[in-house]
Structures are given as structure tokens and as C-alpha cells.
């Protein structure tokens, strides 16, 4: 009976804490506005699944490289394809790939970091040596090298981006865990005789979640930049798929006469990356001001 009361009380505290976090986040107007920016772009992409003003792959050579007009709000590209339509369809690749990569990278890095930090011992040594090797490569270089050997395509992109971002999580989570393991409440659960895995996932993980969430938000912005850079270099998804970075790579030759082909995809990429960075700032402030020290932003 008393146990249930305690559990209910805990649940209530959690609810109140979440509400508090949300209120703090909302009071940060810039971060809140960024949430809207992301929602608008996501809405555009979702609409792109059912409707686009023009076919994103439809050539119209007579109307090639038209500047923005009422007919084509963002102009047309080198083959006369409507840029707005292409951006609406291309977003699912650029943003979809980034979201999936960050989820995978976070999962892999956090689990490894958790195991490494909590269990320690030889497992820790092995994991940290792997992380050392991965961190010896600059992130962009690692992603490029992986893309080159995996070959172009969506799966390769996801693998390349998540593999080049996981080591930072592994370090970050390990460091945070090491600070937690000596806390009294962890010792208390240990004395109750719970298994290591139970403590790791039931007690340690929830407490480092804020750090992970904030880092992931920043990484979303970073992944979008990384994914579009690979697309720009011609290492991402092969044309004619309108991935945002690849669109810029394709329009690059026409920079002198038709800069709009390059400008608009770039603005979209920047808007999303900026929004995620600002949301990250807001979340960091709302979730845990103390965690500021450990988070690395790009």
C-alpha cells in the first residue's frame, strides 16, 4: 500500500518536473520560435508526399534557370525543374537521413558509454580504444572515407553519419556516468541487490538523459550539415534525387548567371540547422543548467 503511494508521488513529481521544463523552454522565445520553424519545414516535407506544385523530376528545358516568379516562387533549376517542389521532396532525404543517423548514433554511443562508464574493467578499455581510433579521424574525413567505401546511397549515408558521430556520445555519456556512480542513490540501489544492467538502464540512464537529449538536438543540426556536405561533394544520394546538398552541387556551375538555384536550398539547410541549434540551447537551459560543462556543440 505504501509502495503504491510512493510510486504515485514519484510519478507526480516527474510530471511536474516535465511541465516545469516545458514552461522554461516556452519562456525562451527564440527557442520556441525555432520549434515553429522546424514544424513549418516538416509540414512542407509532409505535404511533399502527397502534393507538390510541379513534378520534382519533370524537365522543362524551355523554362530552365528562371528566377523566382509567381509561377515558380523559388525559380527553376538548370533543367527547368521547379525548385520549391524539389525542396519539398528533397527534405525527406536530408532531414530523414539526419534524424535516423542521430537516433542510431545516439543509441550506439550511449549504450557503449553507459557500459564503459558503469561496468568499467576490460570492457571499458576495449570500448575506449575503439573510441580513440574513431576520434583520431576528423568527423568530416571519417564520414567521407566511409561514404567512399560504402558507395553512394541512403543506407551508406545513415551508416556513415551515425558511425562518425557515435564516439563523441560514448565519451560524453561515459564521463557523465562516472560522475553519477558515486552518488548516494546509486549506492542505495546497489545495496538493494539489483543487477548492474537493471541499475544502468533503470537508474543511471534516466539521470543522464538530459545530457543525451541536448547533445542529440545539436547533433541534428550538425548531421544536416554533414549529410548535405556529402551530397554536395557528390558522395551522397546520386542524382536526380533532390537531396538539398546535391541540389546545390548541381546548381554550382550556374552560380554566375543563376545564383537562386544555389541560394534557396542553402537557406533551407541553414534554417533547419540554426533552428536545431537554438532549440538545443533552449533545452539545455530548461533541462539542466549544470550539464552545460559536458556538452560539446558544433
Amino acid at each position: 500500500m505504501e509502495d503504491r503511494l510512493i510510486l504515485e508521488r514519484i510519478a507526480e513529481v516527474r510530471r511536474r518536473r516535465l511541465k516545469e521544463v516545458w514552461e522554461t523552454f516556452k519562456s525562451n522565445r527564440v527557442a520556441y520560435a525555432s520549434l515553429y520553424v522546424v514544424m513549418i519545414i516538416v509540414a512542407l516535407i509532409l505535404v511533399g508526399f502527397v502534393y507538390t506544385p510541379y513534378g520534382p523530376y519533370d524537365f522543362d528545358l524551355g523554362n530552365a534557370r528562371q528566377p523566382p516568379s509567381i509561377k515558380h516562387p523559388l525559380g527553376t533549376d538548370e533543367l527547368g525543374r521547379d525548385i520549391l517542389s524539389r525542396l519539398m521532396v528533397g527534405g525527406r532525404y536530408t532531414i530523414g537521413i539526419s534524424v535516423i543517423s542521430v537516433l542510431l548514433g545516439t543509441l550506439l554511443g550511449s549504450v557503449l558509454g553507459l557500459i564503459s562508464g558503469y561496468l568499467g574493467g576490460s570492457l571499458d578499455t576495449v570500448i575506449q580504444r575503439i573510441v580513440d581510433v574513431a576520434l583520431a579521424f576528423p568527423t568530416t574525413l571519417l564520414a567521407i572515407a566511409l561514404m567512399v567505401s560504402l558507395g553512394p546511397g541512403m543506407t551508406s549515408l545513415i551508416v556513415a553519419i551515425s558511425l562518425s558521430t557515435f564516439p563523441v556520445y560514448a565519451r560524453l555519456v561515459r564521463g557523465t556516468v562516472l560522475q553519477l556512480v558515486n552518488e548516494d542513490y546509486i549506492t542505495a540501489v546497489k545495496l538493494l541487490g539489483r543487477t548492474s544492467w537493471y541499475i544502468m538502464f533503470k537508474h543511471v540512464l534516466p539521470n543522464i538523459l538530459p545530457v543525451i537529449v541536448v547533445q542529440s538536438t545539436y547533433y541534428l543540426g550538425f548531421s544536416i550539415l554533414l549529410a548535405s556536405s556529402l551530397g554536395f561533394l557528390g558522395l551522397g544520394i546520386p542524382p536526380p534525387t533532390p537531396e538539398w546538398g546535391a541540389m546545390i552541387g548541381g546548381g554550382r556551375v550556374y552560380l554566375f548567371s543563376s545564383p537562386h538555384i544555389v541560394v534557396f536550398p542553402g537557406l533551407f539547410i541553414m534554417a533547419v540547422a540554426l533552428a536545431f541549434n537554438l532549440i538545443g540551447d533552449g533545452l539545455r537551459y530548461a533541462l539542466d543548467p549544470k550539464s552545460r560543462m559536458f556538452i560539446r556543440r558544433f
Binding site: T140, L146, S149, A273
Partner: protein, 313 residues
């Protein structure tokens, strides 16, 4: 004496990392699509000629033997010959290196010249307009895609204003646009770290003492605040230069700057696998060395860290 011992220890500890990176890179490059022997022989060569080249290069041996061969030749200081240029890889890398180094240092210098004053001012005057502008600028720097910024710079300064060259490295003026593009990327983090470490130093007790002693504001700022906030700033600077030595790939490619980064992209598209290996090897080595150098600089700035590192590390 202790410095030498510390250095030896650090180098010794980074050997496994280096070998791991070497192995990882070796595997990555070997699974590259395309047959290097076929590339060397040319598309019209007979199968038996391709086979002969494969034997000469040792490509017909099992992978682990190839790796051992590779490491042995590496230890002899031989990086192999570039498939495309038919010259030793080391010559190609060394020929491009000065450009990359110059770009890295000019970019870092621009970034410091802007970020340090901005960071300090925004720490001292947290509510001024300049602070607001600074935070927006540093965010934009972290959020704008580099390749796009580079193209925009070319459009503005080369196409419209016609004041700066857009590609190549024929004159000192050619370095301005690529360096400015890169510095934008560095500025944000540098400003942020300057700001937060100056704030931290301002709030510490010894600054309170200095104020209580009645020292002049400028003296406090220069002698006490800045000196104490240098560690994170120097660390970041070192890491930035380290990553620029290999990470300026995109900027170099867009501006056709003849450094290591654009050489890497070229050799990737040519499948010049010995050159790719050589470049990646160089970048990883540079990265590891810079990390050690940064730690040593740490020690010079902060005697507490020096004692800690040299006694235990």
C-alpha cells in the same frame, strides 16, 4: 627531464590508437569499389597484364598479409607511389602541405582577431547590443553549410563586386576568401568559449581580491582575468588548427585551393588508393600530434596541470 618523459609516455600511448586507425583505414580503402590493378593497366589491357600488376603490388595476397606488408613499408618510411601521378605519395602530400598549413593559420588568425575581442566584450557587458550580435553571429557560423557560404562569398566578392579571386592559389589575395569562409566556422565556438571562460575567471575569488586591492580595471583584466581564462581558449585553438590540417576538405574543394583536402577529394574520384591512404594517414597523424601538443601547451600555461600531468601521466 620530466617534459621529455611526459612526451615519450604520450607518444607511446598513442601508438595503439595509430595502429588501430591504420588498420581501419586499410580495410576501408581495400573495400573501395573498383580494381586498382585494372586502373593502373588501363581499360584496354589484357587480363594477364592486370594479373601481373596485381602480383607486383601484392594485391593477390590475403588481406592480413597485405596489411603486414603495408606496415613494413611504412616503417621504412615508404608510403608507396601514387597511381595517378606515378610519383611517391610523400612528394605529392608534401607539395600540397604548405597550402593547407597556410590556410589553417590564416583562418585561425582571422577567427582569433574577431572572436577574442567579441568574447571578452560580451563577457564584460552581458546586456550590450554587441553581445546580442555576437551570439547571433556565432550561431550562424555553426549553422551555415560551409560549401554554401563559400559559394555565396564567391558570388558576392568575385562575381558581383569583382574584388577577390574565386579559385586557385596564384597570389596572396587568393587566400582571403577560403580563409574567411573557414574562420566563420571557427569563430562561433571560439567566441563562446572565450566568453564563458572570462565570465568564470571574473567570478573567481582571486579577482575579487584584485579588485579589493584596488588594482586598475585594465590591469585586472589583462593580468588576472585573461591569463586565467586562456586554457580553454588555447585548447580549442589547437584542436581547431589540428582539424583544419585535414578538415578543410570542403572549403579547399570549392575554392580549388591546392591543399591536402582537395587532393584527397581528387584522389577519391580517381580511386588513387595509395594516395588516399597516404593522405588519411597524414591527417590522422597530424590530429594525434596536435592533441599531444595541446596538452603540453596546457602544462605551460597552468602549473597545476603540469604537476598533475608529469607526475601521473
Amino acid at each position: 627531464m620530466s617534459l621529455v618523459r611526459y612526451l615519450c609516455k604520450r607518444v607511446y600511448h598513442s601508438i595503439p590508437t595509430f595502429i588501430g586507425a591504420l588498420l581501419f583505414m586499410f580495410i576501408l580503402v581495400r573495400v573501395l569499389p573498383g580494381d586498382p590493378a585494372r586502373l593502373i593497366a588501363g581499360p584496354e589491357a589484357l587480363e594477364q597484364d592486370v594479373e601481373r600488376i596485381r602480383e607486383q603490388l601484392g594485391l593477390n595476397k590475403p588481406l592480413h598479409e597485405q596489411f603486414v606488408d603495408y606496415v613494413v613499408t611504412l616503417i621504412r618510411g615508404d608510403l608507396g607511389k601514387s597511381i595517378k601521378f606515378r610519383t611517391p605519395v610523400i612528394n605529392e602530400v608534401l607539395a600540397r602541405l604548405p597550402y593547407t598549413v597556410a590556410l589553417a593559420f590564416v583562418a585561425e588568425a582571422i577567427a582569433i582577431a574577431v572572436a577574442l575581442p567579441l568574447g571578452i566584450i560580451s563577457a564584460l557587458r552581458p546586456n550590450s547590443k554587441l553581445t546580442y550580435v555576437t551570439s547571433v553571429l556565432s550561431l550562424l557560423g555553426a549553422s551555415a553549410p560551409t560549401f554554401w557560404v563559400a559559394l555565396m562569398f564567391i558570388y558576392i566578392f568575385s562575381v558581383n563586386l569583382r574584388i577577390l579571386p574565386s579559385s586557385g592559389a596564384d597570389s596572396p589575395r587568393h587566400i582571403i576568401l577560403p580563409a574567411a569562409t573557414l574562420s566563420l566556422l571557427l569563430m562561433g565556438n571560439l567566441t563562446r568559449i572565450t566568453r564563458s571562460s572570462v565570465i568564470e575567471a571574473l567570478n573567481s575569488n582571486h579577482i575579487l581580491t584584485a579588485i579589493a586591492k584596488g588594482l586598475r580595471e585594465r590591469a585586472i583584466l589583462m593580468r588576472h582575468v585573461l591569463k586565467n581564462s586562456m586554457i580553454p581558449i588555447v585548447t580549442l585553438m589547437g584542436l581547431q588548427i589540428g582539424s583544419l590540417l585535414g578538415g578543410a576538405i570542403i572549403t579547399e574543394t570549392v575554392y580549388a585551393w591546392p591543399g591536402i583536402g582537395s587532393l584527397l577529394i581528387d584522389s577519391i574520384f580517381f580511386r588513387d588508393y595509395t594516395l588516399i591512404q597516404g593522405i588519411i594517414l597524414f591527417i590522422v597523424l597530424a590530429f594525434i600530434v596536435i592533441n599531444i601538443v595541446v596538452d603540453v601547451i596546457y602544462a605551460f600555461i597552468d602549473p597545476r596541470i603540469r604537476d598533475l600531468l608529469w607526475r601521473t601521466g
